[in-house]
């Protein structure tokens, strides 16, 4: 009995000592404040065709998903030639070890079935190293003609799951298609998928068109046309390709229109008697309201996402700078103070930044700054960059880049908001004045 009691006492004292030590030290604590920024490796094997006629679409959809993700610069595809596992069944268990061996940190599998004209896509995403399925498993159905949209939706879901922000792949871009030599340039409105696919022309090249802008729902486009000989604002229904003139009065020139977030009001520039000011107009009633009244040139207005403010460019200080004022007009506050000239400001869909064109020392730049003008960063530099437009998630900017010389062309480019991943956007001809739509429903 004594021995048992002694053993218990020894064990208990050891426990007491351990408890005291644990209270003093606790777990090891370290802080990691340096990491790497590199594309995340992922694998997307061809989707599994579940019907004989789905084989072609199964491969095509996987390729579009890969192009979307890799095109962001945030992801890097592990090529199919490196795959160890072959995905032959959508519900087959995933051999995570095989995907870890090729350093694929994310895996996307999917299946496609075609019944008549009906296409169904289902997919799953996996965190390979955590050996768990992502929460983005979904299924889309549509017509076979809309397979690209379904691929974009798959990529949007995966992108959103991994990055934590919404995607932008299922979106469209309206722009001015440019063809012919520089001294005889033919311009017409065109609309395409964000990646340059499915180009459709909305106008002919009989008259000059400028600066198309999407409505907040993406179903209408505002643009400026010289059809009557002087600039007038038109609104075009994208689905039915019907248009009407938003008349702003005889003897006046109106241009640079942009929708308010409510979709019922537009803000634009109007030149009358040699002076250019900002106005707003109710689309349904045509009622106009003057927002600025200055002897200088005010133009290129853009609403904040909440519709409370407008950013615009003005030369009221002697040089072209950016200003922010309440959407109903009133005192404007200058936000750009760097050297050079600033123009074409566009408020980010997130509301936190403003993209702009800057001209300084003979070079053009696309840049971003906070809405108070702080933290200005220039993302590009070339002979002529201008006209930025934001992707629906505020992560990417598309703009026009024109090369020098008589053979110079205007092309569309995109760049990440960090300044990385600068690349051209493929279009059949040249392109300028892009405007990004919201995500499609």
């Amino acid at each position: 009995m004594r021995k048992i009691l002694a053993a218990l006492l020894i064990g208990a004292s050891a426990l007491a000592g351990a408890g005291t030590a644990a209270a003093q030290t606790g777990p090891l604590r370290i802080e990691i404040d340096q990491g790497v920024i590199e594309p995340l490796p992922y694998a997307v094997p061809d989707f599994v065709p579940e019907t004989p006629s789905a084989a072609e679409h199964a491969a095509q959809i996987a390729r579009v998903v890969a192009a979307d993700l890799s095109g962001t610069g945030l992801f890097r595809e592990v090529p199919a030639s490196a795959h160890i596992s072959k995905v032959t069944g959508f519900d087959d268990p995933v051999k995570f070890a095989d995907w870890k061996a090729v350093n694929a940190q994310a895996l996307i599998t999917g299946a496609v079935s075609v019944t008549g004209n009906r296409l169904t896509v289902q997919f799953r995403g996996y965190d390979v190293f955590a050996e768990k399925e992502l929460e983005s498993a979904l299924q889309f159905s549509g017509t076979t003609g809309g397979w690209r949209r379904m691929a974009h939706k798959v990529a949007d879901a995966i992108y959103s799951e991994i990055t934590g922000e919404s995607g932008y792949f299922d979106s469209r871009v309206v722009y001015v298609s440019e063809s012919g030599p520089k001294n005889d340039r033919r311009k017409r409105l065109a609309i395409m998928d964000y990646d340059g696919a499915n180009v459709q022309y909305l106008t002919n090249s009989a008259s000059l068109v400028l600066a198309p802008r999407f409505s907040p729902t993406g179903d209408r486009v505002l643009y400026t046309s010289y059809e009557s000989g002087f600039p007038q604002i038109h609104v075009l229904d994208v689905g039915q390709v019907q248009r009407k003139i938003l008349s702003s009065g005889d003897g006046t020139m109106s241009f640079a229109p942009r929708f308010a977030p409510d979709g019922r009001t537009i803000v634009y520039s109007q030149t009358q008697g040699g002076n250019t000011d900002l106005f707003s107009m109710d689309i349904s009633t045509g009622a106009k309201r003057r927002l600025t009244s200055a002897p200088s040139i005010e133009t290129a207005p853009s609403f904040s996402p909440d519709g409370s403010h407008v950013v615009f460019e003005s030369d009221r200080s002697g040089s072209q700078q950016l200003y922010v004022m309440p959407a109903s007009g009133g005192e404007a506050r200058r936000i750009s103070f760097g050297q050079g000239r600033y123009g074409t400001p566009v408020w980010s869909p997130r509301g936190d930044m403003i993209a702009f064109t800057k001209q300084n020392k003979g070079r053009f730049h696309i840049g971003v700054m906070r809405t108070d003008g702080s933290e200005e960063r220039l993302l590009t530099a070339s002979f002529l960059d201008e006209g930025p437009t934001w992707a629906p998630n505020g992560r990417v900017i598309m703009f026009t880049r024109e090369s020098q010389g008589s053979a110079g062309r205007a092309l569309l480019y995109s760049v990440d908001v960090t300044g990385r991943n600068l690349k051209p956007v493929k279009t059949p001809d040249g392109g300028s004045d892009p405007a990004w739509s919201p995500l499609q429903k």
Partner: protein, 358 residues
């Protein structure tokens, strides 16, 4: 006498001598040679200039000058486009970043601070990877790996077999995001020493010995009264105490070097490139338990707390942190086995603040 006796035993060989052949010349020839070395006679009056003789055409085609090039109008050269590599300097000169605390004049300046941080030719390059340390692009045939090793090819003349080994190198990386605008910027500026050497200060006079207070005298450590603890632990043990499996860190703690090595290991896999802006503003504290071989128990990885972002942003930040722990711990973190109790449970704080400004 001794030589006479023993000299015959040591026959001397004639010393080797160099033989050189010479040519003999006559006195007349020597006279001529001597005259050539004398300075020429200079007449006080310059000689009259001779009329140039008519140059006769030379028939030898080999000695004729090259025919005059046929002059043609050059092709019109379009004005050169500005080199896209050359970017405008910032409008306003950047404020020099001064260290928060200048090194004390009494301290020996750190030699490493006088070494240029970046070589002048190592201008930022637009590469996919941004890492704490810039890495030059590897050779085209080099395999990307974490370890740098040279290529070993089989030597045909070698007697022993050699293991063939591919050349590997680390993936190219820059230490900040390089945009079209700032590409090549500040290459020269970064070559300058970060800190200038300061003159040594006068040596301080020796201070008088401080008087040791009586209270500072080492005293016998008080024996803690453990009777209550023993009684409590005994009661807990008898009651089937729940903390029997609690960690018991004991022994020497990890050194700063060992902690830094672990930090670097995790940092290399902490990829924040695909994180949203909101997640890049979120700091997460992640707890993990390690096995004795240094491998993380993936089931033990959990988010302990987060600051600075929404729940969604914290989730993304946590997922990136978890991937870092799992990936770089797959082969076991390099930690001293004898200190296992110290690193069995780790709390890692992932703070992306410095990554936002890359």
């Amino acid at each position: 006498m001794t030589w006479v006796v023993f000299g015959a035993w040591f026959p001397s060989e004639p010393l080797p001598s160099n033989v050189q052949q010479v040519a003999l010349i006559s006195a007349e020839q020597f006279e001529k040679l001597s005259q050539q070395r004398q300075a020429p006679q200079v007449s006080p009056e310059p000689a009259p200039l001779l009329e140039p003789a008519a140059v006769q055409p030379v028939a030898d085609p080999a000695s004729q000058p090259d025919p005059a090039p046929e002059i043609t109008q050059p092709e019109p050269v379009p004005p050169a486009e500005p080199d896209p590599q050359v970017t405008d300097r910032p409008d306003q000169p950047p404020e020099p970043e001064l260290p928060a605390e200048l090194p004390s004049a009494t301290e020996e300046p750190d030699v490493s601070s006088l070494v240029p941080l970046v070589r002048p030719d190592s201008a930022p390059r637009p590469v996919d990877r941004v890492a704490p340390e810039p890495v030059a692009p590897p050779e085209p045939d080099t395999r990307i790996a974490d370890v740098v090793q040279p290529e070993v090819a089989p030597d045909e003349g070698a007697e022993t077999e050699q293991d063939v080994q591919d050349a590997t190198a680390r993936e190219a990386a820059s230490d900040r995001i390089v945009t079209e605008e700032n590409e090549g910027e500040d290459a020269a500026a970064t070559a300058a020493p970060a800190v200038s050497r300061r003159p040594k200060a006068r040596p301080a006079r020796p201070q008088p010995e401080p008087q040791v207070a009586a209270a500072a005298q080492p005293t016998e450590p008080e024996q803690a009264d453990t009777s209550d603890a023993v009684a409590d632990a005994l009661a807990e043990a008898l009651a089937g105490g729940a903390d029997v499996e609690a960690p018991e860190p004991s022994g020497p703690p990890l050194t700063l070097g060992e902690k830094d090595a672990l930090r670097v290991e995790v940092s290399r896999c902490w990829n924040v490139g695909s994180l949203s802006t909101a997640a890049l503003k979120t700091t997460v504290v992640v707890g993990v338990s390690l096995a004795r071989d240094g491998k993380p128990d993936t089931g033990s990885i959990r988010m302990l707390s987060s600051t600075g972002g929404s729940a969604s942003a914290a989730k993304q930040a946590y997922e990136a942190a978890r991937r870092a722990i799992i990936r770089c711990g797959a082969k076991g973190f390099q930690l001293p086995p004898e200190k296992y109790a110290q690193w069995r449970d780790i709390e890692m704080t992932f703070n992306p603040e410095r990554m936002r400004i890359k």
